[in-house]
Amino acid sequence: MKEIILKIKNLSCGYDSQIILSDINLTVERGKLLGIIGPNGAGKTTLLRAITGIIRPKQGNIFFEDKDIYQIGLKELAKKIAVVPQSIIVNSITVEEFVLLGRIPHYKRFQFLETKKDQEIAKKALELTDTLKLKDRSILEISSGERQLVLIAKALAQEPKLLLLDEPTAHLDIGHQIKIMQLIKKLNETENLTVLVVLHDLNLASQYCEELVLLNEGKLIRQGSVNEVLNYRDIEMVYKTTVLIKENPLNKRPFVILFPPKEWDEQK
């Protein structure tokens, strides 16, 4: 059995008195590319925020490499888990400076400037994400597809073991969607990075993820292989819409076809 990098036990959490996630149990093996799917408001982003310690669990524990994340210092955790947010507000700084911000957790006490090593790591992150050519441009000037790549580069500069991405393909055209997903796959395979990615597009999830987690109304409905999770019963129940699931002839994985109820009736 493979080593477990992340283990979530009986997790319940939420904001103020409101419970968003209840009784979540989840294990992630090292080196996996795991997709998190579910309708809006299912608690996907909240799950990511719980893993990075932004919201405290009301119940249960989260273990990273067998250690409770609250036992690991913030700085140590930032060297192990990096997050790519959906979007970001920034001042005008260059892409290179932005990626260098990812080195902050690695700075020693009273270290003022980045070292040569920090710069090399940032450069490598830019190369991996194919954004080295943008390094002197302002982060505000580049396109949203490019910005998403740069956000990933900054996360890579943290040299994490686990990468969390919150809907990295939202608002992107199909070309950039594929580019981002290919990049995530490449990082997962060649850099041995464990990846948790929240996705709305079920077919992208089917295409790229090894394993899926389906969330609905704060509960974990199913965790398993793509074939196990993308079954029409679960999907129709969770998304409250009718779908047709066929095998994609190119990759032999499930392919979800949306099927408006009205046409469904006419077909019958």
Partner: protein, 335 residues
């Protein structure tokens, strides 16, 4: 990396040169003009001449105070902008200066300074400032999220409320030297007490050094609190310590020189455009140029309509307020 350091060093050099030019200019102009060439001979001749005492008893203390307070207010502005991620935030627009004035006014009315000594004035200013920061902050947080628009509006309204309260206090109490208090509130660098000048100078320099412990944290915070946390920054502790620092700088400045608005807005705005948004250079460059800016404004205030002296707050208010409007209209920041 090296280039960056060289670039920053050049900027600091330029700012220091500007600062020195302003200081020399400020030393030499006034009701009695003292040309720069005469400085050295005056120093050698020593005490005795009128020009000597003008230079050492009036102008140098004023310049030292202008340096300390200009630097402090500008630094407080940069720090608050970093914490709240908005370029329009500064001690004056958030009502923190008003809070400091209230603290000092209450101190004067209850004559605490007579019992506790003059040192109680800056500390009551500090207390007033920090109470207002905490109030504004807690009022603008909704479900754990800081609402920047509300923060600014609440801050501006609090400023109004506080200045009314201050007027109320002055109206109902029997402050002997009401004109002195009013002139103090309007902002002036004429401070007869050497101890307070020295105190302000040290607080200001120490504040600058202390702020550098947070230069990476401020850079991380420019991406938002959540992102800063993802970068391993302890956001809550950072915020608290920087709130205290900003209140200390503002409270002390206001208790000594009254309300000098917009220094913390105008100066960092220019520095951001000129040198960039990296807090590692922004902190020191804002401090230095804030110091130069206030000394220059004060020089204008005391020479522009001789023999009258304007409150320096009037000059910074007009300049800074115009820049505030300019930023809003140009960048279309949502208020």
């Amino acid at each position: 990396m090296k280039d960056k350091l060289v670039n920053w060093a050049i900027w600091i050099g330029i700012l220091v040169i500007f600062l020195l030019i302003i200081i020399i200019f400020s030393l030499s102009v006034g009701p009695t003009d003292i040309p720069f060439k005469k400085f050295i001979s005056l120093i050698f001749k020593g005490k005795g001449s009128v020009e000597y005492s003008v230079l050492f008893d009036i102008r140098i203390p004023r310049i030292l105070l202008g340096f300390a307070i200009g630097g402090a207010l500008s630094l407080a502005g940069v720090i608050l902008q970093g914490l709240f991620r908005n370029p329009l935030v500064e001690p004056y627009t958030l009502g923190i200066s008003g809070g400091a004035v209230l603290g000092v006014c209450l101190n004067i009315v209850f004559q605490l300074d007579k019992n506790l000594g003059i040192i109680s004035l800056p500390f009551s200013g500090f207390l007033g400032a920090i109470l207002i920061i905490l109030l504004v902050y807690s009022l603008s947080i909704k479900r754990g999220i800081l609402k920047i628009n509300e923060l600014l509006l609440i801050g501006v309204m609090l400023s109004f409320i506080l200045s009314s309260l201050n007027m109320l206090i002055m109206a109902v109490s029997h402050i002997q030297d009401l004109q002195g208090v009013i002139f103090w509130i309007m902002g002036s660098l004429a401070e007869p007490n050497w101890f307070l000048i020295k105190l302000m100078f040290f607080v200001s320099i120490l504040g600058l050094l202390f702020s550098y412990l947070f230069c990476h944290a401020l850079n991380a915070l420019s991406l938002g609190e959540e992102e800063a946390l993802h970068l391993g920054i302890n956001v809550e502790i950072t915020k608290r310590l920087l709130f205290i620092l900003a209140s200390l700088l503002t409270g002390f400045s206001v208790s000594i020189a009254g309300i000098i608005g917009f220094v913390g807005l105008a100066v960092p705005h220019f520095m951001r455009n000129l040198i960039g948004n990296d807090y590692r250079i922004l902190l020191i460059s804002s401090f230095l140029s804030g110091a130069g800016f206030l000394i220059l404004c004060d020089t204008l205030a005391r020479t522009i309509i001789l023999p009258l002296e304007l409150p320096v707050g009037v000059i910074t208010g007009i300049l800074g307020g115009s820049i505030f409007i300019y930023i809003i209209s140009k960048k279309q920041i949502k208020l």
